[in-house]
């Protein structure tokens, strides 16, 4: 038995052996750190609950953005790196054009919910418009080119929109006004939860359920799925492929727009570069959940948000690592690597349409 094990270890190449050592080391750090934290728990029950709630709220936003990466990948097999700009463009415009003037005129304080609806409509409208324009101008002409070309175009489109909006509204951070009705906390499970966090979670759940209904139960959703399955056959069956792809982009941007409004409500500031980091994180979430898979994107987003929030305190704090909170991205991406080592297809696997042969 032991001989066999030694034999197997000897058979490993240097690289494989190194990878196994890495996995063992990561798992050791996680387990050891967790045990240490549990032994000398520096936090109360309420603090841990807070960490989890922060994580769920952050993760919900990642989930909404991640839907966009996953849907477009499912349909076009391309990574739409301009998606983070669909997220930014809507809320940045709505903040500068609607929210700030309304707050200054006092209308927002008097009619908070009408104002918020107005902000949401403008945000989603602009996001969808930008998505449709990007698809028509930058992606459709390249649909039959090699797969790397749309990828590079997407990166170019992302820069274009960033600097376009910087030109429109300036490079400074814009404050999103506080809405008094959503300020403050409510009691929940012995702790105080921010109203905005509750709103984020509720809106995310409603959006995801509605999206799922749209994709699985409506004719348009069926068209999206059939185009994801096979564009040519879908066209032969009388589906307008171009229109369906535009619809896919509009759906993605709609979700990104909702995420944008929630982001502004929670973080109160927007600027032209705000899409970049949430975009990278949401893309990670989509890969984590299994790219092309809608529930996967949602679960991946939640997972990532939770690990970013809970991870540093749970795994690293007790190991005496200085500035452990700065390492939250390290934790998130180590998690990604670990999951991809053990499940290369992601948590739920790739599956918008059944996988192609």
């Amino acid at each position: 038995m032991i001989d066999r094990a030694i034999e197997r270890i000897k058979g490993l190449s240097f690289i494989n052996g190194f990878l196994w050592l890495m996995r063992a080391a990561i798992i050791f750090v996680v387990v050891w750190g967790t045990i240490q934290t549990i032994l000398h728990n520096p936090y109360s029950y309420r603090n841990w609950l807070d960490f989890i709630i922060f994580g769920i709220a952050q993760g919900s936003m990642y989930a909404l953005i991640a839907i966009g990466y996953t849907l477009v990948y499912g349909v076009l097999k391309m990574i739409n790196f301009a998606h983070s700009e669909f997220f930014m463009s809507g809320i940045f415009t709505a903040t500068c054009v609607v929210a700030i003037p309304l707050a200054e005129s006092g209308y927002m304080a008097a009619h908070p919910f009408i104002s918020l609806t107005l902000v949401a409509v403008v945000t989603i409208g602009v996001s969808v418009l930008i998505a449709l324009v990007t698809e028509r101008v930058a992606y459709r002409p390249l649909r039959h080119s090699p797969r790397l070309m749309p990828l590079i175009t997407a990166i170019g489109a992302s820069f274009f929109w960033q600097y376009y909006f910087r030109g429109l509204f300036g490079s400074q951070v814009k404050p999103f006004p506080t809405i008094a009705a959503l300020d403050g906390t409510i009691s929940f499970l012995n702790t105080q939860v921010l109203k905005t966090h509750v709103l984020v979670v509720v809106v995310t759940i409603i959006s995801l359920v509605a999206l799922n209904f749209f994709i699985t139960r409506t004719k348009a959703g069926m068209a999206i799925r059939s185009v994801a399955e096979n564009k040519d056959v879908a066209a032969l069956m009388g589906i307008n492929v171009n229109r369906t792809i535009s619809l896919t982009f509009a759906t993605c941007a709609f979700m990104a727009g909702i995420a944008g409004v929630l982001y502004a409500l929670v973080y109160h500031q927007v600027h032209f570069f705000m899409g970049f980091i949430p975009g990278i994180k949401a893309f990670t979430a989509a890969v984590l959940g299994g790219i092309g898979n809608i529930p996967g994107a949602a679960i991946g987003g939640l997972f990532l948000g939770l690990f970013e929030s809970v991870g540093p305190s749970l795994f690293l704090q007790s190991l005496g690592i200085p500035a452990f909170n700065q390492l939250k991205d390290v934790i998130a991406f180590t998690l990604l690597v670990l999951i991809l080592i053990f499940r290369p297809q992601g948590i739920l696997g790739e599956r918008l349409a059944e996988k192609k042969a």
């Binding site: 309420r46 951070v173 814009k174 982001y263 109160h268 500031q269 704090q317 909170n325």
Partner: protein, 353 residues
């Protein structure tokens, strides 16, 4: 100069230089041309802007960078090429420490953050009577240097620093790190110092109010978060927050003329706090051109790079807006005076000393 969330910092300095040029008119019969580069407040940007500038032989002096993080690689590029640079707003201690990042062509008219950190510690400990503090930086040389300077001074005064940690540039959710700080082994701090830039600073300032245990903690930021845009971004969270920065109560008619010119040319009060330092830096350069330049036979000015550099380092007792400037061997030229401010009605108001 810089773009992005911290653009006010760079523009303010650029305007300072433009006014200096306007006041000066011509140097030895030649007009002065300002070429502005954008480093985006990043190390890569500093490297790129430095390369671009040193490839242009018509440039005599360099004023910049705005951010210490960009200053580190740029001072290397500039020094290697035989040029010198004067920064109006780099304040990281390492930049003028010969054992750390200092390069032979580097000078600054901005204060060294050892002074600023000490002033903030003095204010928190002696003026407010707070004995426990925490500090947060973002890994940038400016923020880390200032947070460290604050910690050393605060501990030297007899206070306790219960947490010293960091966030990432671009982070938005600061609640986990703030919750950790509120539950530090030494208890929740009475003073929380986060000398980071506008976006992260505003997130920390607003979210600290929402974290259990930090409700009564005094929040402090520094000159990286000292601009019209920062005051806007902090918004309703500003009561109970203090800011350290250069003392702008400059005496003298020149500063009054300067402010009038600023208002007239750019339509606003100064955007940030380093315009006067930039003005002084530009005038130091003009002075050295006048001292060292030789008139060529065809009317062109011949300006030696080494001579210019030597002249800059030899500055002694120069009377600028920001005080009496004397450069030491590692390029610290400032006459540092630090004040503490708070925001009242969207304006920064001097409250100490």
């Amino acid at each position: 100069m810089i773009s992005g969330a911290n653009a006010d910092l760079g523009l303010d300095s650029q305007y300072g230089v433009e006014i200096a040029i306007q006041f000066k008119g011509e140097v030895l019969g030649h007009s002065v041309e300002l070429q502005a580069e954008d480093d985006g407040c990043s190390a890569e940007g500093g490297q790129a802007a430095g390369q671009k500038i040193v490839s242009d032989p018509s440039i005599v002096g360099i004023i910049g960078t705005s951010c210490s993080g960009a200053g580190v690689p740029m001072s290397q590029v500039v020094s290697d090429a035989g040029y010198f640079m004067v920064s109006p707003s780099n304040t990281a201690p390492s930049l003028t420490d010969a054992n750390q990042a200092w390069k032979p062509g580097y000078l600054r008219t901005a204060h060294n953050d050892k002074v600023q950190g000490a002033a903030m510690a003095e204010y928190a400990y002696s003026e407010l009577g707070l004995t426990t503090a925490a500090a947060i930086h973002d890994g940038d040389p400016y923020t880390e240097g200032l947070a460290n300077a604050f910690r050393e001074s605060f501990e030297a005064l007899g206070g306790t620093v219960v947490a010293f940690t960091a966030v990432n540039v671009g982070d938005t959710d600061m609640r986990p790190v703030l919750t950790s700080i509120a539950n530090s082994a030494g208890g929740a701090p009475e003073f929380l110092f986060f000398p980071v830039f506008t976006a992260e600073c505003a997130h920390l300032a607003t979210q600290a109010l929402e974290v259990a245990g930090l409700e009564n903690t005094v929040r402090g930021a520094a000159d990286g978060c000292f601009s019209a845009a920062a005051a806007d971004a902090i918004g309703d969270a500003s009561p109970g927050m203090v800011f350290s920065g250069p003392d702008l109560a400059y005496a003298g008619q020149t500063y009054q003329d300067f402010l009038a010119a600023y208002q007239e040319n750019f339509g606003s009060a100064p955007l940030s706090v380093f315009h006067a330092h930039a003005f002084d830096a530009a005038n130091l350069i003009f002075g050295c051109i006048e001292t060292t330049a030789q008139q060529g036979s065809d009317g062109a000015l011949l300006i030696g790079r080494q001579a210019m550099r030597d002249c800059m380092f030899a500055t002694s007792g120069y009377a600028g807006i920001t005080g009496s400037l004397t450069c030491n061997a590692t390029g610290d030229c400032a006459d540092p005076k630090i004040a503490v401010y708070e925001i009242q009605g969207g304006e920064y108001v001097n409250i100490w000393p």
